[in-house]
Amino acid sequence: MERAAALDDPRPVLSALIEAGYRVIAPVEQDGAIRYLPAVDPDSLPKGRIDSQTPGSYRLEDGDPERWFDYVVSPESWKAWLYPARRKMWTSTRSEDGLSFERPEAEWTPTAFFGVRPCDLAAIEKQDAILKDGAFADPDYAHRRENALIVVIQCARSAETCFCASMNTGPRAQAGFDIALTELGAEADHRFLVEAGSEAGARVLEGLTEDATEADKDAAHAATNAAAASQIRVMPENVAAGLKARLTAPEWDDVAKRCLNCANCTMACPTCFCSDVQDTSDLTGDLTDRWRVWDSCFNPDFSYIHGGAVRTSSMSRYRQWMTHKLSSWHDQFGASGCVGCGRCIAWCPVGIDIVAEAETLMAQPED
């Protein structure tokens, strides 16, 4: 466990993972964005690229050609792998013996997630609390999670939309990873600190021989501290109690007028977990499959019960999303539902900023 190595290049870590038998999912540039896809080739890492993320905008640009990890979170989060957007839950067959129900076989192979940012690790832990560690677990999620090796890349740079420092989720992950990389220095000093966070991680790193120095570790802290200091967005500290005391503030209508109810924020958010079910039948009508599919509280039908939806107004749906993220998640799972990754800000087509909205609401009188 107490294993820390230094490297000039991150690719040996990828190669070591592949050699250890893991399927590796890693950042790849595709369609103008970073995506997390199966890495067939260590050279496919988007070296030298940087992301510009601002409200309503995401652009990949050329950055320092020598640096590997200056871009931060991708539009898609790791939930696409751990909790896929569409997944078969069971199959039911009707025969002379009546009905029977069967789960599909577990089909997940040991997989390394290479390039998990600290906020995204925190998001995975939040989904764990719901989908794996609660009174009822989703067995498919639990199976995937137990077979996932997490390689964190600590953030030496923050995007303009990042506010993990104020959510206490980054830019440095303290624990919960199997391996963590920090990109250090420039030019002659450019190197990587590679730390093991678990026995499984240490085993992968066995072949890496150059030990890290105390100076490397200090440099790693300095790098992530600098990223934290650069963040301009800061979530108000008492937002959980504050929103609960302002559920009828007229400002909810103001943000609702701008919100398109497109659900982009919930799809991009790494902690949003809501799902719907769909049933499909084969042509004989004697076989049906039940699917779990991602859903969003912005969907007008989300709260539908006989007689009509509970949340018919756009105001009430925005309020549900934001109060769930920032307030009622604390009641439900003992922590915020937001990790400060900024995706919902960048991927909102009209640039609604959850931090700015929280600040506006907190400035209103209590109900």
């Binding site: 009905l99 009174a135 989703d138 509280c297 709260s303 019960i305």
Partner: protein, 286 residues
């Protein structure tokens, strides 16, 4: 919210339905059918009053349906279903011998045993008697432990009264005191006309409101005004429970659909103590 209701029994795989057989199906009202379900291997199905199952109509879908039978009779499950749409409609068309998928039992329950020596007041609106009936059975089974048992029943019209044969039996045997009120009735109706709150004064005559434990189930607006009315008469808001309805897909706290402020109605409810949700009941579109 989490400690006011009794916990449910353990479930082997809460996501995967088990097949149960319809042993009997009968019509209660024009659009309401009751089903008696039995397990295929004869295993008992234990539940607590107020809990619900997810019933799956093959090829159509699932719906949350309360268990409406006697919790002492673990060899069968009773469900009472109103045909309001695709799934409920398919469930009401099931016949004896058909099979249905069942997941459950889920959710919190009506606390009955803990309320000994008190006056139990059940307030049912329409189909709300179905989820309350297991609690009434439980109370009647240990009748001597309670100071009194009263049921106030509200329905749209006399012909919309659920389980009329049972209401008649309960009053005939003096098992409980029954107050019925309807929204509309023809001249042949000699009982009360009006909303359930108009019956409170009569039902509570001579009863110390501080000794009342009330259980409300029906449309949300009826429960909201009912609880307010009882609180105005001096019934403690910590001694009133009501059962909430929200959209439900998973019933186990994973799909997010049933959120009601900080609570998941499927696992923190559906039975809530009134004081824990009183503020939310006054907010629109929560």
């Amino acid at each position: 919210m989490r400690d006011s209701a009794e916990p449910h029994t353990a479930i082997a795989d809460p996501m995967l339905p088990i097949a149960m057989r319809v042993s009997e199906a009968w019509r209660e009202l024009d659009d309401v059918v009751s089903l008696r379900l039995v397990t295929k291997d004869g295993a008992p199905f234990a539940f607590a009053p107020g809990q619900f199952n997810m019933l799956y109509a093959f090829g159509v879908g699932e719906a949350a349906i309360s268990i409406s039978g006697d919790p002492a009779r673990t060899g069968e499950l009773l469900h009472t279903i109103r045909d309001v749409g695709a799934v409920s409609g398919a469930l009401t068309r099931l016949k004896a011998g058909d099979e249905v998928g069942v997941r459950g039992p889920f959710g919190s329950s009506w606390p009955v045993d803990s309320e000994h020596d008190r006056h139990l007041l059940f307030v049912a609106g329409g189909l709300g008697l179905a989820p309350l009936r297991p609690a009434i059975y439980r109370a009647l089974a240990t009748r001597h432990r309670f100071a009194s048992i009263t049921l106030i029943m509200g329905a749209r019209s006399p012909r919309d009264l659920l389980y009329p044969y049972q209401l008649a039996g309960w009053t005939a045997s003096h098992a409980l005191r029954l107050n019925i009120t309807v929204d509309h009735a023809g001249p042949e109706w000699t009982g009360s006309v009006g909303v359930v709150t108009t019956e409170f004064a009569r039902a509570l005559a001579g009863i110390d409101p501080a000794k009342v434990s009330a259980y409300l189930c029906g449309p949300e607006i009826m429960m909201r005004f009912g609880a307010m009315g009882l609180a105005d008469m001096g019934v403690s808001t910590e001694r009133m429970w009501l059962s909430m309805e929200r959209s439900m897909k998973c019933a186990i706290g994973l799909c997010g659909h049933c959120q009601f402020g900080p609570d998941f109605v499927c696992k923190d409810g559906p039975v809530f103590r009134h004081d824990e949700i009183a503020r939310r009941l006054t907010l629109k579109e929560i």
